[in-house]
């Protein structure tokens, strides 16, 4: 067999390639961070939204639902639930859980205060206004 194949060269190419592409990722990350203000709806990141996000996290909502397509796939997408259902429906729905219908998927009741419910709605409204490149394809998420 003609040609050469040395371990030292393979190693150098690995280090060179890995560093190169990692730097590229870092550069793109910088550009993304610079561009985010245009798409991430940070203007509406109110105290209420932040409280809502905290509630979202501490109730492990992501364990059943998806948010912008990420999470579990057991329950509906909530990134666009605000335009889909509206604030009042969302609050009423959360309060009425679990349905207790035999054999159906159940959502726990979290005994939220009215303030907490408003915070969750604020968070979901903020999320729905993030520019997601028109995802999901339709209102059903």
């Amino acid at each position: 067999m003609s040609g050469t194949f040395t371990k030292a060269m393979a190693r150098n190419i690995f280090y060179g390639g890995a560093v190169f592409f990692f730097l590229l990722l870092v550069a793109l990350t910088f550009d993304t961070m610079g561009g985010l203000p245009k798409s991430d709806n940070r203007a509406n990141l109110t105290e209420s939204v932040l409280r809502g996000k905290h509630i979202w996290e501490t109730r492990n909502c992501i364990g059943c639902h998806t948010l912008l397509g990420e999470g579990a796939y057991f329950a509906p997408e909530l990134g666009n639930v605000y335009p889909r259902r509206g604030a009042e429906f969302i609050k009423a729905w959360i309060k009425s859980q679990p349905t207790g219908t035999p054999g159906r998927r159940q959502m726990p009741n979290f005994n939220f205060t009215e303030q907490e419910l408003d915070d969750i709605v604020a968070f979901l409204k903020y999320t729905s206004e993030i520019n997601t490149q028109k995802w999901p394809p339709n209102i059903e998420g």
Binding site: S2, F5, T6, M9, G16, D31, G35
Partner: protein, 206 residues
């Protein structure tokens, strides 16, 4: 599976082809050729993506392409080609046993590559001043991603050339020891090769 695997791991010695050469030989290190293939695939995918994105938006692409600096693009093509030529001469010098002379040729190649960087930086400065960014339009996104991705490759190539220059000055390359210089040269030519498609595609094709 088997034959395929065999090919990848050790390309079968091909039957002697009736030609001037007694044994076909892949110049440089096999590892760099795998890297080059991966890079060519990545660039190829970008080129094809560009072409099809353009097909869906011909007017925008044509209009914004006109604003590009074709003179800078052509000058850079010439710089890269000349740089490649110098590197070929360096490899030939090493092959002829004039290892140290190779250093001079590589220095020439490096200078041309550095010239490419300078021209490109002027081009980028003008573009950024004009408000071109990754998010300003699909065409600009492609223009920046393609040229910047390539730009980074030129920089990496220059680092490699600097290493080769250093090696050549120390007389490291000789007819019996061509692996290093051939490997670096192959990478540098790949950077050139990719630009040869990038230039007509992004700067000229309408």
């Amino acid at each position: 599976m088997n034959t395929c695997a065999q090919t990848l791991v050790s390309p079968p010695a091909l039957p002697a082809v009736a030609s001037d050469s007694p044994a076909r030989r892949l110049p440089g290190d096999l590892a760099i050729w795998f890297f080059i293939l991966a890079e060519l695939l990545a660039f190829g995918a970008f080129f094809i993506a560009y072409a099809f994105a353009r097909a869906n938006n011909v007017e925008l692409f044509n209009e914004q392409q006109l604003a590009l600096d074709r003179n800078a693009g052509a000058l850079n093509t010439i710089l890269l080609l000349t740089s490649s030529y110098f590197v070929v001469r360096a490899v030939q010098a090493a092959e002829a046993g004039q290892g140290r002379r190779a250093a001079t040729w590589i220095a020439g190649g490096f200078a041309c590559g550095a010239g490419f960087i300078v021209v490109k930086l002027f081009e980028y400065t003008a573009k950024f001043a004009a408000g071109v960014s990754l998010s300003s339009s699909t065409f600009h996104m492609f223009y920046l991603v393609l040229t910047f991705f390539h730009f980074m490759h030129v920089i990496l190539g220059l680092v490699i050339l600097a290493a080769l220059w250093n090696g050549a000055r120390k007389g490291r390359y000789s007819p019996g020891n061509m692996n290093g210089i051939e490997t670096g040269a192959a990478y540098w030519h790949m950077v050139d090769l990719v630009w040869l498609i990038l230039f007509p595609l992004v700067y000229v094709m309408r």
